[in-house]
């Protein structure tokens, strides 16, 4: 089963993503409400994939992404962004994010993207 770490500052979003993923057979092994906690949980649980909100207080998703990629250069991180965050998304991709999903998203966007990323090299 594919294990996922969900990082998002909004409890609603964490729950929403978790529901979608578990319905489709993913295992959400942990969630985190900011970048710092995300890195700690990443180290602790070593998930197959991380979904990372871009805008979060304290430490943004991009900084967390960079740290995670430093820890594990093969880490698979998918960014969750809002519309109109082109600059941030670009930075995330340049920093090694595997893909990104734009809110508001369709359920299958999340499941398909994660499935493809998890099964690719």
């Amino acid at each position: 089963m594919i294990s996922v770490l969900v990082v998002d500052d909004a409890a609603f979003m964490r729950l929403a993503i978790k529901n979608v993923l578990e319905k489709s057979g993913f295992k959400v092994i942990a969630d985190a409400k900011n970048g710092q906690e995300g890195i700690e949980k990443f180290l602790e649980f070593q998930p197959d994939i991380v979904t990372m909100d871009i805008t979060m207080p304290d430490m943004t998703g991009i900084e967390a992404l960079k740290k995670i990629r430093e820890i594990d250069p093969a880490a698979k991180v998918v960014m969750i962004s809002a519309m109109g965050q082109e600059r941030m998304v670009k930075e995330a991709i340049l920093s090694g994010a595997k893909s990104f999903i734009v809110k508001p998203y369709k359920e299958e966007h999340i499941t398909q993207t994660l499935m493809k990323i998890a099964t690719s090299k």
Binding site: V78, M83, E86, V89, K90, I93, L94, A97, K98, S99, F100, V102, K106, H109, Q112, T113, K116, I117, T119, S120, K121
Partner: protein
């Protein structure tokens, strides 16, 4: 010259062993051919085989075979002793195959006691000598195309992203970044995707155009690209092959290393195989005629058993202990029967592997790229049946390659990988074995078949009533071939009906399915064995008949209300809303019986090839394993026996005729 082939055991052994050796040799050559270099173990093995053939041929005084084998042995001796020598393995493979073909055809002639081609070896010997000379002076080295193992092709891909996925330009950028790991010389349009957000609209509208070179197959690349998130569709095309193959003839040092690695790996595999051979010593070979005899004897035992147990002298006696022992005897006999049966079962592996050769020869000649795939080749079939399978399979594989598969360019334009695929698949199902020959070629052309059928006047029912299946299956009719060009390999219009005849003769059935532009599948249904079957014994008047249990759906006493008579006087029976034709055995064969009315006797519903009919008989006697015997020659010679597949002995010693279900289905009802 050798003596006549009349069961002389030494000669028999020579024929047997040489045939095995040539088959083994062919296998080795075909396995190593693609590696462009013979491994040490392959060289040793070829050398050993040639040496053995030379020795035994000389013993049997077939001196021309011996001298041919001797020359081939010389060639491999030289290669073995000069391991650093450069040679063209493809050329040598061809030569050895030629040599082997000659030897096996001569051995066949010896076996069949026909005239031998004593001077036929001379030319091949000269060729081998020349080849050896060339190698010695270093003229005959491998052409420098080692990198051909990894040819690189140019591709063009247009990627379409899902609607509403947003920021297509950044996605495209991320795709390129990941994709660069798999391919070379990547270029794309629009450019500047990461800096210019307007390109997102362009990609959304026209797709994202990418050019690249890769040594991966079309399908692999397709899969890799589709693995990218938010890609809705791709349009992947292979660009000019010619140009590419020229470009990559110069060898890069790292390629060389790869090739070497491959060689080393292969050698390991070969070594493992050699070990396997040694451990297989616990197997002995037995003359098939002995097995046939044993099978017959077991059949007699089965009959003798029921003769004893159902002996009329025992009627009405209370024989508890006798019955118990008889049961024990029965158990042992059944086990013996299974054992003998399993001894006769041979895996299809060798039969399948024989196809490698024809695939190799044809793909070389016709310029088609063919991959041969086996599924379930370990499936076992009775030895007697396997002999009837070789030819049909050969025909089918030939047909697939010759007519089914397209030329590489045509395949690429059709969006397929340039390499065509022929699959041979086998699996067990009940007491049958299914063997499928599939290809992913252009499929059958319905219009052509219909037109041809009309021309040859073999339409068996109105065109409008024909299903696709009916149309496709017409290709099995005698004298049918839509291919205008008779090639070296197939197209004489005798192939498919030969397949049909062969399979029918062993009690099987053949059907064909096809999807235009996607391929053709020929399915052969073959009984696991023909020797002993489960049968239902029935009686009509004082005659006994046996129907194979596998063909029986049900049996029942008909009710008067269910019997329907149509305007032509044909009788039919209504069962659960379906109508079935009735064939009355006593009328069919003019047998005298008191039971004439349907309601007095019993109906047995039989099924074959998804069609059903009801057979009317007096009574059911009971189910029994019966040993199938073919009709004695003197009966077959004097009169044509229609509708009888064979005969068998019943427990009480009377003879029962085994009904041919195929005939029951198609016979004209009297």
């Amino acid at each position: 010259m050798g003596e006549q082939y009349n069961g002389d055991s030494l000669l028999e052994m020579f024929v047997f062993e040489t045939t095995q050796n040539t088959e083994q040799l062919e296998k080795i050559i075909l396995e190593t051919e693609n590696e462009r270099h013979f491994s040490d173990s392959a060289i040793n093995e070829i050398f050993r085989i040639m040496h053995t053939i030379k020795g035994s041929a000389a013993m049997m005084s077939y001196s021309y075979i011996a001298s041919l084998a001797h020359k081939a042995e010389d060639l491999f001796f030289f290669i073995r002793e000069n391991s650093s020598i450069e040679y063209n393995s493809s050329l040598i493979s061809d030569l050895i195959l030629l040599c082997m073909d000659f030897i096996s055809s001569e051995v066949n002639k010896i076996k069949e006691n026909t005239e031998l081609d004593i001077n036929g070896a001379d030319e091949i010997i000269i060729q081998i000598e020349k080849c050896l000379e060339d190698i010695k002076v270093g003229k005959n080295s491998n052409p420098k195309e080692i990198s051909n193992n990894l040819p690189s092709y140019s591709f063009k891909a247009i990627l379409y992203y899902e609607e509403g996925c947003e920021m297509e330009n950044i996605r495209a950028y991320s795709f390129i970044r990941d994709f660069e790991e798999y391919v070379q010389n990547i270029s794309y349009n629009p450019e500047g995707i990461i800096d210019n957000d307007d390109t997102a609209f362009e990609i959304r509208k026209n797709g994202f155009l990418v050019f690249f070179d890769s040594n991966k197959s079309y399908n692999e690349l397709n899969d890799i690209i589709m693995q990218t998130p938010f890609i809705k569709d791709i349009d992947l095309t292979l660009l000019d092959i010619e140009k590419c193959s020229h470009e990559c003839t110069d060898i890069k040092p790292e390629d060389k290393k790869d090739v070497k690695n491959v060689l080393i790996q292969n050698e390991e595999i070969h070594n493992n195989k050699a070990e396997n051979h040694q451990s297989a010593q616990s197997i002995i070979s037995i003359n098939v005629s002995k097995l046939d005899k044993l099978m017959n004897l077991i059949g007699e035992v089965v009959i003798a058993e029921s003769m004893v147990v159902e002996n009329p002298d025992l009627k009405g006696l209370e024989l508890q202990s006798f019955r118990r022992e008889a049961l024990q005897l029965h158990k042992i006999i059944v086990e013996m029967q299974d054992m003998v049966m399993s001894m006769r079962l041979v895996p299809l592996t060798t039969t399948f592997q024989k196809m490698h050769r024809i695939v190799r020869d044809m793909s070389k000649k016709l310029g088609k790229e063919v991959m041969l795939e086996f599924i379930g080749e370990e499936t076992e079939v009775d030895k007697n049946i396997i002999e009837h399978l070789s030819n049909p399979l050969l025909h089918l594989v030939r047909n697939s390659i010759d007519h089914g598969l397209e030329m590489p360019e045509e395949r690429i334009t059709a969006g397929k990988s340039p390499e065509g695929k022929v699959t041979l698949e086998a699996y067990n199902s009940g007491s049958n074995v299914f063997i499928l020959a599939k290809d992913d070629g252009r499929g059958l052309n319905k219009e052509k078949i219909l037109a041809k059928a009309k021309k040859n006047n073999i339409l068996f029912k109105p065109e409008s009533e024909m299903t696709d299946r009916d149309i496709y299956n017409m290709i099995f009719m005698p004298g049918f071939s839509t291919n205008e060009n008779v090639s070296e390999f197939s197209g004489r219009g005798v192939g498919m009906d030969v397949v049909m005849q062969n399979i029918l003769s062993i009690g099987g059935a053949v059907t064909v399915d096809s999807i235009e532009r996607q391929g053709t599948t020929v399915t052969m249904k073959i009984p696991l064995t023909v020797a002993i079957i489960d049968g239902m014994n029935i009686s009509v008047g004082d005659r006994h008949f046996t129907i194979p249990i596998t063909a029986i759906r049900e049996s029942f006493k008909p009710k008067k209300n269910d019997i329907i008579c149509d305007t032509d006087g044909n009788l039919m029976i209504m069962v659960r809303g379906e109508c079935y034709a009735i064939i009355k055995l006593h009328q069919q064969w003019d047998i005298e019986t008191e039971i004439q009315e349907l309601t007095d006797g019993i109906l047995i519903m039989i099924e074959q090839d998804e069609r059903r009919r009801c057979v009317f008989a007096d009574t059911l006697i009971g189910q029994q394993q019966v040993v199938v015997k073919s009709m004695p020659d003197f009966i077959r010679r004097t009169r044509m026996v229609e509708g009888v597949a064979g005969c068998t002995l019943l427990g009480n010693g009377s003879i029962s005729l085994i009904l041919d279900t195929g005939w029951l289905m198609n016979a004209e009802i009297k």
